[in-house]
Amino acid sequence: MKVHVDMNLCQSHGECVFAAPDVFDLGDDDVLVWKEDVDESQRAEVEQAVQVCPMAAIRIEG
């Protein structure tokens, strides 16, 4: 599956980093970095990240 983040919406709350630490991370400047291609085994974590994002900036494709 693919993970998309709308960086026009992202305000670096960091909730996704806690929900799915293998997929999302913050750089030292607090800007979000993430893996776009994610293994199916991590779907539950990524779905949790989608739900806890205060900006609703994360979308799963596939």
């Binding site: 960091g14 030292d28 949790q48 739900q51």
Partner: protein, 417 residues
């Protein structure tokens, strides 16, 4: 558990509960009751992006709210009673909805001004979409806004209004804004608001709102009279529990539950969000109630999942650490844990200009919170310590020795002196 699941409250906690009920495999009836006409929407933009005019009502929709499979939304009519004997939710129009499990998520409403001048035009509260749109219209004229209450909503609206060119005064009986942050960080928040031209009147309450029909002035306890074209009353929120008065459930401001969010009185009743009181491990087992966005998400998810587990002993306790944030001017305030429960708040690291920092909150020698200004990544480090139960002194020592800490690169080195 195949019988009907009824969720009372159609905001964030209710939506996340509904989604969790379906994800957990419930194929039976799923009814969500909401007092407002809208499908669930997200409230944080109401004091910021929507109030600024950068967003409209449609932008506040919560994705997925229209895609809960087979959800029966009953919107626009509040629940009036919970009849546990008959296992029914009774709506204000008399409709009854049978449940096998019910999740209570009716949240809070804004506390209103009850003193002299209650009912004047131009006096606002901010809780729902309609409130925000009305306040936005009032602010379009510019003029003078007096905000009563320097908590989250009051401070955010003050910042937003000041950036729109409105003359803003904030009044609070407390000695500093954002009371749970403690005096030092609260003082820094006061500095920030004053630097943006906001007039803070602290340590004084409001005696009366004045005006013939439309509010024109706010009279303070210290005798000062502030001219006002609009007043926002932002003095906190009140749980919506009146409809449960004859339900027999234990109510202590909110509805009292155990750590699995199951009512202490009835295993078929669960709670989630702003009205939920539960014993928090972080607070040493004390019963707490948290009115924040991520809490509504986590509790909604857990209550939805637990509602499908027949044996209460097999339900999962809440272990997530509460988090919250507030955007004021160019500062993002974020906290994890329970800052309000701390009896001591200490700055652990900061940049030399003080623009970015992290502080920890301790109670009885235990770490209970961490608070960051513009330092999300660093806050994550503290969040892990909070979850692990690291003692505060050890956290401070590790932060002081951490080369990744804020200000570490600028700190004078001991070597060579």
């Amino acid at each position: 558990m195949g019988g009907p699941v009824v969720i009372v409250g159609a905001s964030l906690a209710g939506l996340r509960a509904a989604q969790a009920v379906r994800v957990a495999g419930h194929e039976g009836d799923l009814v969500i009751v909401g007092a407002e006409e809208h499908l669930p929407y997200t409230r944080p933009p109401l004091s910021k992006e929507l109030l600024r005019g950068d967003q409209e009502a449609a932008d506040c929709a919560l994705p997925g709210a229209d895609a809960v499979p087979g959800a029966d939304w009953r919107l626009g009519t509040p629940a009036a009673r919970l009849d546990r004997g008959a296992r029914e939710v009774v709506l204000a129009d008399g409709t009854t909805i049978a449940y096998n499990r019910v999740i209570l998520a009716t949240g809070c409403r804004a506390r209103t001004w009850q003193g002299p001048g209650a009912g004047l035009d131009g006096v606002f509260t901010l809780r729902d979409l309609g409130d925000a749109l009305a306040l936005r219209t009032a602010l379009q004229a510019g003029g003078r806004l007096v905000v009563v209450g320097a908590g989250f909503v009051g401070c955010e609206v003050a910042a937003t209004a000041a950036h729109r060119g409105v003359h803003v005064t904030v009044v609070d009986v407390a000695p500093h804004p954002m009371l749970p942050l403690g005096p030092e960080l609260g003082g820094l928040m006061a500095d920030l608001h004053r630097a943006h031209g906001i007039d803070l009147r602290l340590g004084t309450g409001v005696r009366a709102l004045r005006g013939p029909g439309q509010v024109t002035a706010v009279e303070l306890d210290d005798g000062t009279s502030l001219e006002a074209d609009a007043v926002l009353v932002a003095t906190g929120a009140v749980p919506n529990v009146e409809w449960l008065a004859d339900s027999g459930l234990t109510i202590d401001r909110g509805v009292v539950a155990d750590a699995t969010l199951t009512s202490v009185d009835d295993p078929d009743v669960l709670v989630a969000g702003d009205l939920a009181c539960w014993p928090s491990a972080l607070a040493g087992g004390a019963v707490v109630r948290v009115e924040h966005w991520t809490n509504a998400v986590e509790q909604g998810r857990l209550a939805g999942r637990n509602a499908l587990v027949d044996d209460p002993a097999q339900r999962t306790p809440l272990t997530s650490v509460p988090t919250f944030w507030s955007d004021q001017h160019d500062r993002k305030v974020q906290a994890v844990g329970l800052p309000g429960a701390a009896d001591e708040i200490t700055i652990a690291e900061a940049t030399p200009d003080g623009e970015r920092l992290v502080a920890i909150g301790a109670r009885d020698g235990r770490l209970v919170a961490a608070i960051a200004f513009n330092a999300t990544k660093r806050l994550g480090w503290y969040r892990r310590h909070l979850a692990a139960g690291t003692p505060p002194a050890q956290v401070l020592a590790e932060a002081a020795a951490d080369p990744a800490a804020l200000g570490a690169a600028e700190a004078p080195t001991v070597a060579g002196t």
